[in-house]
């Protein structure tokens, strides 16, 4: 796995745990263990997120602007991970053609 995916995987894992803790804390707002875990993970997330954005570009639109460039619209989007060749066979059945994929031309 390359560095980008590895880092994204870490962020994803931390975010997933944060979502779960968030829901738990909503109904257990004074649970000390959960509060501690949440604080630690939120800090970790902050650090990993920053690292990712500096190296590989924005994950959220709010980080999308540089001085002269709107990075947010750049690929990949989450659904851009498969190679087109792998999809082509099946996609022919639902009426999509390779030449329709505008995103590949830019």
């Amino acid at each position: 796995m390359d560095g980008k995916n590895e880092l994204l995987e870490q962020i994803r894992a931390v975010d997933f745990a944060l979502i779960d803790l968030n829901l738990y804390l909503d109904t257990h707002p004074s649970c000390e263990n959960a509060l501690k875990d949440f604080r630690v993970l939120a800090e970790t997330r902050e650090r990993l997120y920053k690292q990712f954005v500096e190296k590989y570009g924005p994950l959220m639109a709010v980080n999308g602007a540089t001085e002269d460039c709107w990075l947010w619209i750049n690929n990949p989007w989450p659904w851009d991970t498969m190679k087109w060749e792998e999809l082509k066979g099946g996609m022919a059945n639902v009426g999509l053609r390779q030449e329709n994929r505008v995103s590949d031309k830019y």
Binding site: R12, F16, I19, L23, T27, M60, M82
Partner: protein, 65 residues
């Protein structure tokens, strides 16, 4: 309000294309008993909640879905 994060919440690894399964999954997302409908129900129900815990949990479950 909705804020988009350019990543999935959980990793997906699609190994081959399967339009029939894709159709099923789309229905689970957007169909009459899908995630989208459920999330909007949570977000409507929260307005009738009597305490802060239940307002928060319905808001956050609706958001997560």
């Amino acid at each position: 309000m909705w804020v988009y994060d350019k990543k999935t919440e959980y990793p997906i690894n699609i190994k081959k294309s399967d339009p029939r399964m894709a159709k099923l999954i789309l229905t689970q997302y957007g169909g009459p008993n899908g995630e989208l409908a459920a999330s909007l129900r949570y977000l409507s129900q929260r307005y009738a909640m009597p305490n802060k815990e239940s307002k928060a949990i319905l808001t956050d479950i609706g958001t997560e879905e």
